[in-house]
Amino acid sequence: MRHVGAIAGRELRSLFVSPVAYAVLTLFAVLAGFFFLLSIQGFRETMNYYQQIGQFDVLEQINLNNQVIAPFIQVMWIVFLFLIPGITMGLFASEKTNGTQELLMTSPLTMWELVVGKFVAAGAFVTILIAMMGLFPALLFLDADTPILGWIFSGFDLAEPDPEGLQMLAGLLGLWLLGLTYAAVGTFASSLTRNQLVAFFLALALLLILWLLSVVADLGVAEGAMGTAASLSTVLTWLSTSDHFDKLARGLVDTRDLAYFAFMIGAFLVLTKTSVESVRWR
């Protein structure tokens, strides 16, 4: 695995000399900021509602973790859904159009070094994205008399509640794992074609299917009243990313969900390796 660093390092350098990386980073920062403000807005509206109807006991239970941070993290998956295929689309497709595939495959590298190197590069980019968006909820941990908190709680007779740090970190961990899974799926999509646009839409389609499997499963449960589809829908729900991510985003760390993401990443990397190797079968 000693070539992984060389492969990943080259990939990242190429990413950062191309406009794609900066376009993605800018778009991501703007969207993250927008969705963060939206979450705060939603929080204020909820509080307003309960204050007006005089439900002060509910008001006391509302907290920043569940009403701001978790919704913010949950909504960011949509941003990942579109941006991560943009990052991964070139990983293998561009090697084919550049002809550099021949350089890599006649060098003393193993297939795993190549595949893992590519994935590590995409994973490093995902990590940068998570660090960037983590700055927004981190604002909520600033001292109580900073302007942002003053603004969030202005107009309410309420002690400003402190958010829970670990719960936020669990949510970010969930989004990070989701991002890595998406990166693995995107890497696989890129290995299937030499056209980056095709790789992008293929990744998007795979990720949507992966997300919607649980919806299909829910329909399956309705059918399951007849007695056949229940076990199938259990499998589909398990395979779908949505439930696992949802739990982590709300701050519930369960090793079963962590194992799920590890399994998905591993499975798509195995598929990628098979697909890259298949050039040799033709």
């Binding site: 080259r10 550049n98 002809g99 495959m105 006649t106 060098s107 003393p108 079968w281």
Partner: protein, 245 residues
């Protein structure tokens, strides 16, 4: 240095390479000739380990390309038909990356890159981005990539294609210099080309491939001993095969 034995490549019903065998000693420069689609590129891709052969085996510097692929690949420098370049990287950065994936020890990487830049005449452009270079310079970067890890065996697929006459002359003298034992150990060079004059200029030995089969394997001197030119030999072989088909 190269021992190829009965290399065969079959795509479905089509025999791209049919039982090609040859051996090459250190210091030999072999011209790989043949019409388009004769199987030159496929043979070279098999020797470099890019494609597996359907049948047959090959050893590079004593390492079997199927059983010890990593050791065999370390001993090979390969310039494919299209130079494998990353257009967004600069020349020196690209060559540094190649030294890393070709297992050049860390301490020797810098000098390996410098010497490849020197030998391929890339001094003036080594900080330039590859995508902005002319075709001639890109071809030279492609050759630099093949020699940067000082391989014992060099496999060059049409190294002078698309170059102007002066560049062609430079590349030829570079290839001749690489084969020359001189200070370091002699290398074995296999190069494919369409330009018969090129073979006459730099390849003491000629292997002619037609329809996947090796039809001629002899020294240039023997081939042209009876006063016939290489062009006559080439035309005769290509024609005869055409009639047989």
């Amino acid at each position: 240095m190269i021992e190829a034995e009965g290399i065969t490549k079959r795509y479905g019903d089509f025999l791209a390479v049919d039982d090609v065998s040859f051996t090459a000693q250190a210091g030999e420069v072999i011209g790989f000739l043949g019409p388009n689609g004769a199987g030159k590129t496929t043979t070279m891709r098999i020797l470099t380990g890019f494609l597996p052969a359907t049948d047959g085996s090959a050893r590079i510097a004593g390492h079997d390309i199927f059983n010890e692929p990593l050791a065999a690949r370390r001993a090979i420098g390969y310039l494919p038909e299209n130079p494998p370049l990353y257009p967004e990287m600069d020349v020196a950065g690209y060559l540094e990356f190649v030294t890393r994936i070709k297992d050049v020890p860390r301490a020797r990487r810098r000098s390996a890159v410098e010497s490849a830049i020197e030998r391929c005449g890339l001094k003036d452009v080594h900080r330039r981005v590859i995508g902005s270079l002319s075709k001639g310079f890109r071809q030279r970067v492609g050759i630099a990539q093949a020699i940067v890890h000082d391989p014992r065996v060099l496999i060059l697929d049409e190294p002078t294609v698309g170059l102007d006459p002066i560049q062609i002359r430079e590349i030829r003298s570079l290839i001749a210099a690489l084969a020359d034992p001189g200070k370091s150990e002699a290398r074995t060079i296999v190069l494919s080309t369409h330009i018969l004059a090129e073979v006459e200029a730099i390849c003491p030995r000629v292997i002619l491939i037609n329809q996947g089969r090796k039809v001629v394997d002899s020294s240039l001197a023997e081939l042209t001993a009876e006063g016939q030119s290489l062009e006559d030999v080439f035309a005769r072989v290509a024609l005869r095969a055409g009639e047989a088909a």
